[in-house]
Amino acid sequence: MAVAIRQPGWYRGAIGLVLGAAFGFCLVVGLRLLSGLDAFQTEQTGYPQVVVPLITAPFGFLFGFGAFDYWFRWAAGKPTIPEDHSGHGATKWQDYFKFNTDHKVIGTQYVVTTLFFFLVGGLLALLMRAELAQPGTQIVAANTFNGLFSTHAVVMIFLFIIPVFAGLANYVLPLMIGAPDMAFPRLNALSFWLLPIAGLIFLGSFLAPGGSFDAGWTGYAPLSTGAPLGQSFFNIGVQFAGASSIATALNFLVTIITMRAPGMNLWRMPLLVWANLSTSLLVVGATPFVAGAQFMVFFDRILGMNFFNFLEGGDVISYQHIFWFYSHPAVYIMMLPGFGIISEIISTHARKPVFGYRLMALALIGIVVLSYSVWAHHMFVAGMFSWLRVPIMITTMLIAVPTGIKVFSWLGTLFYGKIHTYSTAMLFALAFIITFTVGGISGVMLGMIPIDIHVSDTYFVVAHIHFVLFGGSVFTIFAGIYHWFPKMTGRMYDERLGRIHFWGTLVGTWMTFIPMHWIGMDGMPRRVADYASQYGDWNLLISVSAFVLGAVQLIFLYNMIVSWRFGPKAGPNPWRANSIEWQVSSPPPVFNFDEIPRVVGGPYEYGTPGARHAIMGGEGEGAEVPETKPSTVTVPS
């Protein structure tokens, strides 16, 4: 027991958690007493005796859990072994609950954790739909409803969509580029463990006096600066989630730039790698802005500053500018990795090279650049500078061009391909193209100032965001999970259950979110617990469909869990794909490769006889392997 306490792990983590919380608490109370104030402060925006421990306790836990042990040894000038791999690999399930530095273990940790939060966020959504099934208030009070939609959005965005992509990429990206691990494995592990902390802080806000944060996931000031204690939980949780995604993005960038296998130049990188390169550029550049915005709200709330207090010279609109300067790029952070996944799947299952590969990569970079210039289209009715409206409308329209390039290139890839639809991953990829295009078009509509003014804050906006985030991002996530499930677990999932899940999800998505366009155009406001009775029939249909959609996800969970344990062995390359991760065993060996592979051609040379993407170590030893020339697209006539 005494040894267990000194070793990094859960015991020491729990002690660290308690000590961290106690430290924060004593700091606040001590300083307050020293300054002659009351020990506790219970104004609704205050509660420093709760808020400060909320910051220090997670750090205490991480210290105890072993996240900083190596860095402390280094800082204290003790000898360290930079290439220490004792924390690598997982042989039993308990290894997934450790501070593990193996990118494959971390990838799995990410995906499982985020799916848990997907479930939580989904349940919050179903609670809302239950309330909205009929006009009037039946199940939850209006205040609770505000808390429900706020936490639903925050959990889905910060704890499901953004990190699940980081998780999938964590698993496959180092394999794809022929790297033994990520560039900074310890930072990688720390990024993961910050996530559940952020999630627990968000959900913990339900226990705060005054209920959970309820100013929406946008947390507009001054609504948020005067909100009850729960809002501070949001401010702090966003910092943890944001730090996690910045650290991961930095890790991806360094890995992609410095650790590619020999022969893998930029134009031989799979598009998933390109997608994560561009996403990471967005995260590193934009996420600090949401951190800044939440810091300012936090300072206003806790320290009594006046960033957003009009009476003291503050500026209210500045919150929205700073917030959306992150949060618009954030929608691409939630979409670009999905684009990468879809490119991989479509090319593999259509047995054809990606149409316009270079343009696909450049379109990603184009979206990154443009996405920094469109933030204010969220603010057309907010009373911002009127001269900014039309330029922002134009850039918003422009961003449809690179996105359109991607959609048409997927269609071009499918054109005359040998399309295999036996994989659920491919079904989701095909459905994604259609559903995402619908969501994209309603996005262009919302970018037009007159339409935006008409449908602002109605269900039309809700319909749009769910078509691009559920019909878009979540479909790509399902596609990605099905596609790499055999690689990650070494076993095959059940295609029949996969199909049921697919059709249920597709029909459920359309039935739930299409009618929202119509009632939105009609003027039903979003984010309100009650509505005029004329919308009753449509809302009942939406609620029933939402519950079907939710129920279908249980089939997915059952399929994943049972197949992971009992599924038939998958073999290294069930999809006959070219990229490097499929050339190693399933699941991959603990250090990925015995020898770094050599890349000799593009990743998508399907249909070219004898074309190779990579030569694995030990293969063709000493023999001269000819470089594969990129093929031109040939259409059989």
Binding site: W74, A75, A76, G77, P79, T80, I81, P82, E83, D84, H85, G178, A179, P180, D181, A183, F184, I246, L250, N251, L253, V254, I257, T258, M259, R260, A261, P262, M264, V284, A286, T287, P288, F289, A291, G292, A293, F295, M296, F299, D300, L303, G304, M305, N306, F307, E312, G313, G314, D315, I317, S318, H321, I322, F325, F591, N592, F593, I596, G617
Partner: protein, 208 residues
């Protein structure tokens, strides 16, 4: 910094041979690229606060900026700027020294940098105490303390990194090869960033 690989530790059994060496596909060192990207995100964090500064000063259009009766100690802050800027030269000297295997110069440079940074922070805290307004005094107080405080926090982190570098320098851990003095170079890059950022904060808050 000892760079001991698994192989050097004598694990030569087939079951735990460690990963293959990653192929270096770019000339830049991983750690250096990492700190540069981290600095990029730090610049954006400062960017958020500068955006707020712009909104509070220009868009909200207050009657006077700084408010009536507020006098910023430009002279003291100017001297403080000189102190911080000179510390950038001393850390550069330390790095050049270790590149030529001059351990005495390394220790001299690092210690001087640390002392200069600590002096800067001390004067800054002193300025806070005597400045005559608080973060609660209007939007000006909020953004003044936020910008300079955010920068002060970065000086503090930089000082921590320099402390670690000092400990290892005095134990004689660094060497002339790049991989053997990353522990000086990386905090050095961060320190230069803290320095340049102060010049921008100083110009925006005190001068214009």
């Amino acid at each position: 910094m000892e760079s001991a690989s698994i192989a050097a530790h004598g694990h030569v059994d087939d079951h735990h041979h460690g990963p293959p060496e990653a192929h270096q596909s770019a000339r830049i060192d991983r750690t250096i690229l990492g700190i540069l990207l981290f600095i990029l995100s730090e610049v954006m964090l400062f960017g958020a606060f500068f955006a707020a500064y712009f909104f509070l000063r220009v868009v909200a259009d207050p009657a006077s900026w700084p408010p009536e009766g507020v006098e910023l100690p430009v002279l003291i802050a100017g001297i403080n700027t000189c102190i911080l800027v000179s510390s950038s030269f001393t850390i550069h000297y330390a790095l050049e020294a270790i590149k030529h295997n001059n351990h005495r110069g390394l220790k001299l440079g690092l210690t001087t940098t640390w002392l200069l940074g600590a002096t800067f922070l001390f004067i800054q805290i002193n300025e806070y105490i005597h400045i005559g307004f608080t973060p609660r005094d209007g939007a000006f107080g909020s953004i003044f303390f936020s910008l300079t405080g955010l920068h002060g926090a970065h000086v503090f982190v930089g000082l921590l990194l320099l402390t670690f570098a000092n400990i290892r320098a005095y134990r004689g851990h660094f060497g002339p090869e790049q991989k053997d003095h990353l522990g000086v170079e990386v905090p050095g890059i961060y320190w230069h960033f803290v320095d340049i950022m102060w010049i921008i904060v100083f110009l925006a808050v005190y001068i214009i």
